[in-house]
Symmetry: C2
Subunit: 110 residues, 2 copies
């Protein structure tokens, strides 16, 4: 069981280590869209985008939904949940004062 988590954890951090993929993820967080729409204003080739999306998919940071010949992408909460889980392990070290962090903590505490 934890082996799976470790693999996923590795995939996630690997995926987020690339600035282009973080930008793609951020764009998808604002609104789900297909790969072509994602490319707009991003100076990235079609194969490169496809490869990045594959990495994000493997990390469960993003999920696809086929719609005819389009593939709509959106944020997959599972990946974010795993990051939250990883972060929660080190909760003892978070600075207590930052308001945003308090919100974070409260939400994860439920």
């Amino acid at each position: 069981m934890y082996a799976y988590v470790s693999f996923m954890e590795h995939d996630i951090f690997k995926a987020l280590a690339d600035p282009t993929r973080r930008a793609i993820f951020e764009k998808l967080a604002a609104a789900g869209m297909n790969a072509s729409a994602l490319r707009e204003g991003m100076a990235i080739s079609q194969p490169a985008m496809s490869q990045h999306l594959a990495v994000l998919r493997t990390a469960r940071l993003v999920r696809e939904e086929r719609q005819g010949r389009f593939v709509n992408y959106e944020v997959d909460p599972d990946g974010l949940a795993l990051i939250a889980q990883w972060l929660a392990k080190y909760r003892a070290y978070w600075p207590a004062r930052i308001d945003a962090l308090k919100d974070l903590l409260r939400d994860m505490d439920q």
Copy 2:
């Protein structure tokens, strides 16, 4: 200001993309210790450890405290805070409760 955050963000995800560095960080989260103590049971050369610690330091995931000829390392809350901040941006996508996390883990267990 936000430029600094972006740089730091990149350093952090790059740093955590390596499994050895995640292991080092995890060990330090359990207890602060010097570089030699960190190496114990880790099958890693002295220069490699030193290089990994430099990366973690740059990412502000870890901080050093010289003590004579020893250098004691410990978790730096600043790095964790930046991850929490990053994660907070996507709070809208988190599974509503921890139960969802448990479901995820169970699913991954198959």
